[in-house]
Symmetry: C2
Subunit: 402 residues, 2 copies
């Protein structure tokens, strides 16, 4: 593959117009959309309207006239289309951590038994499963093999569909079938898969899921998460954080708590409108793209990038499965000096991120990257690893956000 080959692929790319919809800075190849998606131009416009007109001029009236009150469910219904859920099964609200807390705690009320999470999954998932188990007086089980989380004595299992480091993707349908056999309630963390890979919760039989708004959905730093509960399960799950927006009729200000019968029982406080408006813009943009074209381009970009990096830098060991069905859309490489490599790449305009220990992570997002982008990124990483500059870099504490 040459740069000219990449140029030819870009010329034929049916999605090439999407990249211009984002505010991608000059001189930067951004391979960290898996951590913080870039700014869509439409988001800046929508926020400007929200701030100056809806908030500034219309003030409190916007709760009714600008659709603020319906924002969590309206955005939820849009996200539902991205993840194979039905309308009325998703809300956008709170942080990923808070949403996971709600669903794991609620699902645990359905039966006795342990709460399980992946031993090497994203820290929040494990911390939450462990602390919720302690709060409820249940055993906690950390599993290295996801399938082991599904056992007759496990009440709730929290699994990430795509691993935040390796990018390895679980077989959702197969694990749901196993969960049905053991009676385990499976809560899916879609943080690294929603917007990155095609998801069909209904086809897989998945009934409980949470995902992140600020990664592939391009919702902005710390964007609200989304929470999915299959309709038959909604009325069976208690609203664990029963703020006034969980009420069937919040604006009655009734002293008696009567939870909403549908998905809004999983809301809590007043919706964060600035954050939700940005999330909605990102989701709207993603819904414009053809899902099949996104998947195909994502696969082609990923293969181009990992092939080129592996060819130029044999010392970088790919830790992500090559099979598109078995991975998300980021790529993880292991190297003893991964931190220095990531830092040197950033200095040269290739933004990836580092994860402990010795892991360099690169997000390959088909909406915002061209074939030339990933070809050039691989070339720059090759220069870094095959040059001497990166050896001089000092390892520094801290890092960038997942």
């Amino acid at each position: 593959m040459t740069l000219d080959d990449a140029r030819a692929l870009d010329a034929d790319d049916p999605l090439r117009g999407l990249r211009d919809r984002f505010a991608l800075p000059e001189g930067i190849i951004y391979l960290d959309g898996n951590s913080l998606g870039p700014l869509p131009w439409i988001t800046a416009e929508r926020l400007d309207d929200l701030v100056h007109r809806q908030w500034g001029e219309r003030l409190i009236r916007s709760w009714n006239e600008a659709g603020w009150t319906e924002a969590p469910t309206r955005i939820g219904d849009k996200i539902a289309r991205l993840i194979g859920a039905a309308p009325g099964e998703v809300v956008a609200t709170d942080s990923t951590s808070v949403c996971l807390f709600k669903l794991v705690s609620a699902a645990a009320t359905l039966r006795d038994g342990a709460i399980a999470a992946q031993a090497d999954g994203f820290p929040t998932d494990r911390y939450l499963a462990q602390t919720i188990a302690a709060q409820l007086g249940r055993p906690f089980r950390a599993v290295t093999d996801a399938g082991a989380a599904l056992a007759p004595d496990v009440a709730v299992a929290l699994l990430a569909e795509v691993d935040y480091r390796s990018g390895a993707r679980l077989d959702m349908a197969a694990l749901q079938a196993r969960a049905a056999a053991t009676g385990t309630h499976l809560v899916w963390d879609l943080s690294h898969s929603a917007g990155a890979v095609p998801i069909d919760l209904q086809a897989a039989g998945a009934t409980l899921a949470v995902g992140c708004g600020y990664k592939y959905l391009n919702g902005g730093p710390g964007a609200p998460a989304f929470l999915h509960v299959g309709r038959p399960l909604q009325a069976m799950l208690p609203p664990v954080i029963a703020g006034w927006w969980a009420h069937d009729r919040p604006f009655d200000f009734s002293p008696e708590f009567r939870p909403a019968s549908g998905i809004t029982r999983f809301l809590s406080g007043t919706p964060p409108m600035l954050a939700l408006a940005a999330l909605e813009a990102g989701v709207d943009l993603m819904l414009e793209a053809d899902a099949t074209q996104l998947r195909d381009k994502g696969t082609a970009l990923w293969t181009l990038f990992t092939d080129e990096v592996s060819r130029r830098c044999p010392s970088l060991v790919l830790r992500t499965p090559r099979d598109p069905a078995a991975r998300g859309s980021h790529a993880l490489f292991e190297h003893p000096h991964a931190l220095a490599i990531v830092r040197a790449g950033i200095e040269r305009g290739v933004i990836g991120d580092y994860r402990p220990t010795g892991l360099a992570r690169f997000g390959i997002t088909p909406m915002t990257l061209s074939y030339q982008d990933v070809w050039r990124a691989a070339a720059i990483l090759g220069d870094v690893v095959n040059g001497e500059a990166w050896r001089d870099l000092r390892f520094q504490a801290g890092g960038v956000v997942t």
Copy 2:
């Protein structure tokens, strides 16, 4: 009091410059800052920078270089100055409902006993206290007299310092002294008092509090809340929603959960930066104002407004205590046709809000209102109530947000 008198007071007002710092629309007198504070101009500027430069251009790098990572504690320390707390005792995070859930649930672990809330308080407070009690297998007690919540068999009492309807203010120091005697952990909901009245948590001996960012702090629609835990109590309270930001070193991505020793153990997920930036701007603006001048002007405005409304509209019955020490900064009037009056006022440019049943609420905020504003608002309400137009208005379902 004549309009000329009000003009003279404005000319002498040392805070008169503050009003111009807000985007108050022409032809509107906004008496609903107690529900959604208006837009400070500086907020629009800060958000523009956050969106275009920090997110758009600097992308993931802003977590480190733009102070995003420290935002919850940095803003918390600023809010601490408004409520008489020490640095390191406050974080800005999540919604009011989620923050209240965290503190009430955590405080309940400290001792056995009932969980109490005000029977006629804001719905979230009662719903949360009741559902948390059920989750923990504790008795729930709804009290009509706040003092009754402090009893030897009550483990945690959740009390609003200022009532969201009547505006009546509790004596925080007296109730804390009583709580100390009964061993009850008192959680204060400061939603209708923070930014509205001078608060000194340390002087009152208060150790647990939550407040709202989108009312008097002018943080924008659905702004993050703040959460206060006195330093000696921090290490004793479990982080109930133990997301990765509650960890002592979140960026280690350690599989073992080791909660932060300080206030950040009450964080959960990634901070919502758009929302936090707006909140910080509102708080910064409030810190520019002299607290004593704010209090004095607030008292004078409130008296002018309620006197003029009562004089012009004897049928509107004031339900807020007149004593400045016994109330917040909003005024509540009862009238059988309060909904129609509020709607007719809004049509004439006076924005207040309605609360069931038969209650008209008006926020009197000294940062954003002039003496002429409140004089004119009272005159317009007088025209409404003494005219015939409002009688024709139909009562409609729904309302505006608290």
